[in-house]
Amino acid sequence: MSAARAAESLLALSQQEELEDLPKDYPLSPSEDEGDIDEERKHQKLLEAISSLDGKNRCKLAERSEASLKVSEFNVTSEGSGEKLVLSDLLRPVKTSSSLAAVKKQLNRVKSKKTVELPLNKEEVEQARTPLEQEIFNLLHKNKQPVTDPLLTPVEKASLKAMSLEEAKMRRAELQRARALQSYYEARARREKKIKSKKYHKVLKKGKAKRALKEFEKLQKDNPTAALEELEKIEKARMMERMSLKHQNSGKWAKSKAIMAKYDLEARQAMQEQLARNKELTQKLQVASESEEEEGGVEEEGELLVPESVNEIQMDADGPNPWMLRNHSISTKEAEIKYPVQLPEPVAHETSGSEGEERPGAEEEILLNEFEERRSLRKKSGPNQDTEPVSRQEPKDSSSQEVLSELRVLSQKLNKENQSGKQKLSSARTVRAVQRKDPTEEEEEPLLLQRPERAQTVNELEELGKEGCFQNKDVPRSVLEGQKLERSTNNEPGAPKEKKKKEQMIDLQNLLTTKSPSVKSLAVPTTIEELEDEEERDQKQMIKEAFAGDDVIRDFLKEKREAVEASKPKDVDLTLPGWGEWGGVGLKPSAKKRRRFLIKTPEGPPRKDKNLPNVIINEKRNIHAAAHQVRVLPYPFTHHQQFERTIQTPIGSTWNTQRAFQKLTTPKVVTKPGHIIKPIKAEDVGYRSSSRSDLSVVQRNPKQLSKRHKKQLKKNSVD
């Protein structure tokens, strides 16, 4: 019975497939992933059909949300109609019985004859008697409304006439399809809503945001007014955000995360993300100044341009790879796209718009960087090596004034070129700049999420990178940068939290941190190349080294971890799968059993390189050397340390004077070749006192004489 039902449902499924094939043929298939969803649905259907084969799920009431031919008698509901379902309705026969057919025919014939006249005339009925009725009829006539029969209006009739049967059918099919599509979408939305993965939703949301951004950009090109409306919406969102406490780490979730953040990197990340989001949402949108305005307020622009360069450095410092810091002067556009502002400052924002524009023209950027480099050099030579705010306050300084003018000219040139294309939308660009931050976060994220156990490593690497930057300080050019770097690290919100982690790695940090003295070599090696050329080469090499070095540390840490793992004693698992319980593929022996038969090996002594992050010391035993070591404890010693102490003094002539060597190596018993050794007599042993001159064996040390011997000696002397 159940098998038959399953077969039926399978049949229904195949029919369903036919139906679903239908929309594909039409040109207006909504999206490319529709096919996937259909397949998914098919798969789901198939699964259902298969699962129903065993007869368990037979009575499962499926929610009918889509148009389908599969109408089961078990899931008929009256929800849509709003009426109560009555059993009698269902029991009523679908077709009238054939016995009444003859009567019906007769009745039909009578109807068609028209012989019987209605007693009242039509006109009479239509006649308006009262003035009210007249008015109503007037109105109805005006609208050409059928008065007597609730038939079709003339317009409807016209339309009916206009539509042929085929057209009607097509229209009906279209409607049907539309309904089906709608139901598919609904089902899909419901399915997606049910997905619990946070990551999936995050990705989805981000994707949506991106799409929205793209559309917005398009809108800007096509329809500026609509874009303005959009902007207003954003502004409104900002207002809402400012009013609410939504992303301020004050919610229940945030509080729980805050507790975890101390130990969990991900939680910390999440909190920071939220804060960043708050910042981003509450960011005031600024309208970038037009070129005309710039020409008006040159001085102001100049002032603003100074921080731009400064902020760029900071950006790099904040970026995931601080090694890029050194080469930022010759960095290509990728560097800036990759590592934009992480903590957007209001001032940085204004420039970031133009920064985005700079992308197409890489040459200008290089020029700018060059100027900046020169500026920093000059600054270094000058009396003030102060940081950005100070330099901003002192534009009167002749050197900086000069630089400012240079920069001004350059920036004007840049702006003229860039703003010719899109002048109005500079404000929108800032939004983009804000949101462009997200990709970097996304970039970082997989790194963090990839392997949770590796989180620590990533942290280490970051720190290594950081101190690597400090290391750069000894390169004379980057003194200023170093200062800024320090400043920027102080700005970091997560800095105090990460302190704990840092402490762990302090050794490795020390290892590669070098407090090297300033280089003042008297003889600098000469090279054939010119100085600038070499500097450039040096820079390139530095970059290469930097990247190579990054890998070096990671590789080493990995190697060390592997070595540690390999040297750990392994537990012995004696569980026999399938013994006393079911066994087979995919079945694991129970935890209790595993626990019972697991022989844990005792943990060995701590590794020698436990506290030396830059060292891997081989813990394997040197068998060849062990063969030369003492492996037996001689008699009076009970512990190996006692014995070791007695053999620590070397006895060889290499380490001792001749006398000492001779003394140390005096044999206990010496025999002289050729000398006759007389056999022991009774008096030798002590029965009768005699001369001990011919005692053939003499103890080396009287102290070491045995007790018995001493007794005998005493006896002898007494005798």
Partner: protein, 612 residues
């Protein structure tokens, strides 16, 4: 072959037997041969040796005006002092000993020769064991005082350059030094202009008397560089990667393009070792007679030159090997790799003994100082670092150089030379045992070509530099050890002496498998096999022979040895033991808890209960 000590002349004729026995182990033949033996063996052979040693002791150090030698002649340590009687004794001539009594022994000097590590707490030992320990300590005391007494007095001091009131010694040029020193020392500074055969590698023999150098384009020559006498000069018609003397100056290993070749001092090819191919660097371990080769193929090969056998060929698994040095203290080989690590190798192990991450870039050069305490590395990241090799492997000092050092060398007294391009910088430390301080170079010198090889000459204040333009011999005051051991490596030895030394050295050859990171570990008991054997023995016997025997009550008379009383006595002892155990464990627990409590004692908090 007579190894037994000879009885001295001053053995008193034995009157009191016991007394005589106390003084010396008596030999059974002594009563007849006392007199003849004294006549037959005139004196201990040790005297002869020491005399010879002192004869060869010559002032050899280059001396400079900054510090003049007051006395060149080292004083002979008075051997007779040891034997002198405590009370002042009048000699036959009637003169009185101006220094009566035993010679004073400087404590700190004697301390230097003490080798028993008393820092470790020993487990409780029985009286018999304690006696043995005391004997060992007394022996050590005796030998160390003897060593302290026979130390060389008024030894040669190393020369040094000292700048007058803030004068930078690095500004002093070689020409200035040469001008200031005596003719013999000035002759040690020379340049060999050999532009034809490319960059040179060079090596001094262990005595510091001979110099071998090989040019990239096949030029190989050895010479007695002090007298400038050329021993041989050949062209091997093949690229020469490295060159090294074997244990003596008579044998020379040359790493050529294909294979490793061994020549004698006439330039005659003795061997071509095809198992060592594409060798890039050579190193020789003199006490093990091992020639170590690092090859392009990534193999580290140990060749025993005394028997001509390859002891070990280890795959370093790190690509091409071209940075290698030896640690003179423990004969461990240090290899520098392109991934910034330095690995330490011994022929007994297939894996490196240790790996140290030194640089972000590849390692360009490694050098280990003569005491085996410090290692200098230079990497592609232009850093020059000094590592402590005493267990911690941590950098002590680091410095960024403008161009990075391509070659490094330590002198006997711990000066560090670095070749960067065509410049050689030398840094000096405070003393012999301190690492070179990297603030100010001690000396700098510019050469006519790029540096390709650096080697400090042993026992001479000379640094040999091989470069593209030939060989330069630089004067570096204070580089070398001024006092040499004439028995060990004697620069002035004759051929006969050399041959004798060779035989002795071969007899004292250390097996290759003894090379390990801490050579003192060999003097320890192999605990693992000890335990293993003990376990096996217990298994074999079925009981632990060293375990304490269970208490067996003694049988007593007069009905007191009834079964009940026996059991009672037994139980009494058992209970006592049990009580002891419990007491001990309780004490231990209390101690443990105290230890645990200490850190939290500072500020008890209500939240402490949640701590784990």
């Amino acid at each position: 072959m007579e190894t037994a000590p000879k009885p001295g002349r001053d053995v008193p004729p034995k009157k009191n037997r016991l007394q005589a026995k106390k003084k010396k182990p008596r030999r059974y033949w002594e009563e007849e041969t006392t007199l003849t033996a004294a006549g037959a063996f005139p004196g201990p052979s040790g005297n002869k040796k020491r005399n010879r040693e002192l004869r060869h002791q010559r002032p050899k150090n280059t001396n400079f005006p900054k510090k003049s030698r007051i006395s060149r002649k080292p004083q002979l340590p008075k051997k007779s002092r040891e034997l002198r009687n405590p009370e002042p004794q009048r000699s036959l001539s009637g003169a009185q000993d101006p220094f009566p009594g035993p010679a004073p022994v400087p404590v700190e000097v004697a301390q230097k020769f003490c080798r028993i590590d008393k820092s470790k707490e020993l487990p409780h030992s029985k009286s018999k064991t304690r006696r043995r320990l005391e004997v060992a300590e007394a022996e050590e005391q005796e030998t160390s005082t003897k060593a302290a007494l026979s130390q060389l007095l008024l030894v040669e001091e190393p020369g040094f350059l000292e700048g007058e009131d803030g004068e930078d010694t690095a500004k002093i040029r070689q020409a200035d030094i040469v001008e200031a020193v005596d003719i013999a020392s000035a002759a040690k500074h020379f340049d060999l202009n050999l532009r034809q055969f490319g960059p040179y590698r060079l090596n001094y023999s262990r005595t510091g008397r001979h110099l071998a150098f090989g040019g990239r384009r096949g030029h190989v020559a050895t010479l007695d560089w002090v007298t400038k006498r050329l021993m041989c000069e050949i062209n091997v018609m093949e690229a020469v990667r490295d060159i090294r003397f074997l244990h003596s100056e008579a044998l020379l290993a040359v790493a050529q393009n294909r294979w490793l070749h061994i020549y004698d001092n006439q330039g005659i090819e003795l061997h071509c070792i095809r198992r060592c191919d594409r060798v890039t660097r050579l190193e020789f371990l003199p006490f093990h007679f091992l020639l170590v080769t690092a090859s392009e193929t990534g193999f580290l090969t140990y060749l025993d030159v005394s028997v001509g056998k390859i002891v070990a060929a280890l795959n370093a698994r790190a690509g091409r090997l071209d940075v290698m040095t030896e640690n003179p203290y423990n004969a461990v080989i240090h290899l520098g790799h392109s991934n910034g690590t330095v690995s330490l190798w011994s022929p007994a192990m297939k894996e490196p003994l240790a790996k140290i991450l030194c640089h972000r870039g590849g390692v360009r050069a490694v050098a280990v100082d003569s005491t085996g305490t410090y290692m200098a590395t230079s990497g592609l990241d232009h850093q020059l670092k000094i590592f402590d090799l005493r267990g911690t492997f941590q950098p002590l000092n680091a410095r960024t150089l403008p161009q990075g050092a391509g070659h490094l060398a330590f002198s006997q007294r711990g000066l560090l030379a670095a070749g960067m391009g065509d410049v050689v910088n030398i840094w000096a430390g405070q003393g012999k045992a301190s690492p070179p301080s990297m603030e100010q170079p001690y000396l700098t010198h510019r050469l006519s070509g790029h540096v390709h090889g650096l080697h400090f000459c042993p026992f001479e204040d000379v640094l040999g530099v091989g470069h593209t333009g030939g060989i330069t011999s630089m004067l570096v005051p204070g580089a070398a050890e001024p006092n040499f051991d004439g028995l060990e490596s004697n620069p002035y030895r004759s051929q006969k002496q050399r041959q004798e030394w060779e035989v002795k050295a071969l007899l004292e050859k250390i097996p290759a498998e003894l090379i390990c990171l801490d050579p003192r570990a060999l003097a320890e008991v192999d605990v693992i096999s000890l335990e293993q054997e003990k376990k096996e023995r217990i298994e074999r016997l079925g009981y632990d022979p060293e375990a304490k025997a269970p208490f067996q009550p003694k049988p007593k008379q007069k009905g007191r040895s009834s079964t009940a009383s026996l059991v009672k006595r037994k139980r009494k002892v058992m209970d006592e033991e049990h009580r002891d155990k419990v007491r001990q464990s309780l004490e231990q627990q209390a101690q443990k808890q105290e230890k645990k409590a200490e850190p939290t004692r500072a500020r008890p908090s209500a939240l402490d209960r949640f701590l784990r």
